[in-house]
């Protein structure tokens, strides 16, 4: 199968029963998406498929063909953190970091469609993500900061 990930085509051999998460981590070494609940309850496996956040643990790799897949590894440009990543770092939105890639991608998906979200809209956008460390306050603050920085810069 051929998967287009972060703008690059990858040709690989994998059985149809491999999830997108397994292929990313085990065939392509892209370990930013994490293996945790494997049930779509925690959000640590989140990747963007055609711009939409999905749980890669519940998505067959073979069905991701022909789509644009973006993982956390594709967010920074040439090692320079994107604004969302910067805000998470600056605002204390990262502790153990296991949930962070998922939250960053969920934020990206949110701000792409809603660049100036209310606090309630931010919370609704991240309900698919568990965080046991932060209690969510500094994560919400990070997302607000990212949104405001990005609107000031006039978009992405």
């Amino acid at each position: 199968m051929t998967l287009r990930i972060n703008g690059v085509d990858h040709e690989l051999l994998a059985p149809p029963w491999r999830t997108l998460l397994e292929v990313l981590r085990e065939h392509l070494g892209l370990t930013g998406a994490k293996r945790s609940c494997q049930e779509g309850q925690c959000g640590t496996c989140t990747v963007l498929v055609d711009g939409k956040a999905i749980n890669s643990c519940l998505y067959l790799a073979v069905e991701a063909q022909g789509k644009q897949i973006q993982t956390i590894e594709g967010i920074a440009q040439d090692g320079v953190l994107d604004q969302i990543q910067k805000s998470f770092v600056q605002k204390g939105g990262i502790q153990c970091g296991f949930c962070t890639p998922g939250f960053v991608l969920a934020t990206k998906s949110l701000l792409n469609t809603n660049p100036d979200p209310s606090e309630d809209e931010i919370r609704e956008a991240i309900v698919g993500h568990l965080c046991r460390c932060t209690g969510y306050v500094q994560i919400v603050e990070a997302i607000q900061d990212a949104a405001s920085q990005m609107t000031r810069e006039g978009g992405n």
């Binding site: 049930e39 779509g40 309850q41 939409k52 749980n55 519940l58 067959l60 073979v62 069905e63 698919g128």
Partner: protein
């Protein structure tokens, strides 16, 4: 022992049209499972509750997805339309808000980007949120196979716990919503411990058509989730309210009758008694809200 394992081995089929889906099912129906969103099926497979030899993926069948207005003023929803697409549709939000309300409580954004309307029906889980909402809207479903198609009300889709009437060679293609009478409105309420993500312990859908002239319930439909082995209509409760004025005692009566019609089980998630308690409160609240929605609808919304 119920641990989540890697997916079992299967052969994956990727049809591109409904006809190809039917052909695949005609050949392999008993050994095949349809994969729409996958958010339920893949978990069942991980738990080895289902280990199909063939998985027929529906994501590549474009004609099964989409929301199209009908000539009769109703709406046709393709079965692989995602919850997200449903929620993004202006016509669903305006005319069939109860369906949007039911869909909005299902999981979170990531799950809703993938989970489908058809999947929520075909899975036949008693806790599914869309069936009650669809029942109160008078929705029908179309099942297609190589030998033809049939359409039936959602009310008739669930003969018993965990199954639908769909044959192994049939695929659910469309969910059809009739046009909405004026002065109609609905509400779907589900009980949950946390504010989001929770599976439905008990859910109530109410759809009211209000007689503005005589100030009575012209029509009302009530349907329940997680209150019986299958999603059910509370027809006796509906009958009590039809033609009746809106009053607390009427709601109280209806709520009690809903409890008589419901048959919730006791599980470690919630006892039967608690589910009855919830049903009483949620039924009244749902009817109240549906009636409010109905009063605000001035004529047919385009």
């Amino acid at each position: 022992m119920g641990y989540l394992r890697r997916l079992p081995r299967f052969e994956y089929l990727a049809p591109h049209s409904t006809a190809e889906v039917c052909a695949a099912l005609a050949e392999r129906g008993n050994e095949a499972q349809l994969l729409a969103g996958g958010t339920d099926l893949l978990l069942q497979m991980r738990r080895r509750e289902i280990s199909p030899r063939y998985v027929v993926g529906l994501k590549g069948v474009a004609e099964l997805s989409g929301i199209r207005p009908r000539a009769d003023g109703g709406l046709a929803i393709g079965s692989t339309t995602t919850m997200h697409s449903l929620l993004s549709s202006p016509v669903v939000r305006e005319k069939y808000a109860v369906l949007a309300e039911a869909a909005s409580g299902i999981g979170g954004p990531e799950l809703r980007n993938v989970a489908t309307v058809g999947g929520n029906l075909a899975g036949a889980l008693p806790c599914a949120d869309l069936p009650p909402a669809l029942m109160t809207l008078g929705a029908t479903v179309t099942l297609q196979s190589s030998s033809g198609e049939r359409t039936l009300p959602v009310d008739e889709l669930f003969p018993q716990f965990g199954t639908t009437v769909a044959r192994p060679d049939e695929v659910l293609t469309t969910i059809t919503l009739p046009s909405v009478p004026s002065f109609s409105g609905g509400a779907y309420l589900k009980f949950h411990d946390r504010q989001s993500m929770d599976m439905t312990t008990v859910g109530v859908s109410a759809f009211v058509t209000w007689d503005e002239g005589s100030q009575v319930f012209r029509d009302i439909k009530i349907a329940l989730a997680s209150s019986a082995p299958v999603p059910i209509r509370a027809r006796k409760a509906e009958a009590i309210l039809r033609g009746r004025a809106f009053a607390e005692d009427a709601l109280d009566e209806a709520a009690l009758v809903v409890c008589e019609e419901a048959d919730p089980r006791t599980s470690w998630r919630a006892t039967r008694e608690f589910r009855f308690d919830l049903l009483k409160g949620l039924t009244k609240r749902a009817i109240r809200r549906a009636r409010e929605q109905a009063s605000h609808t001035i004529g047919d919304v385009s």
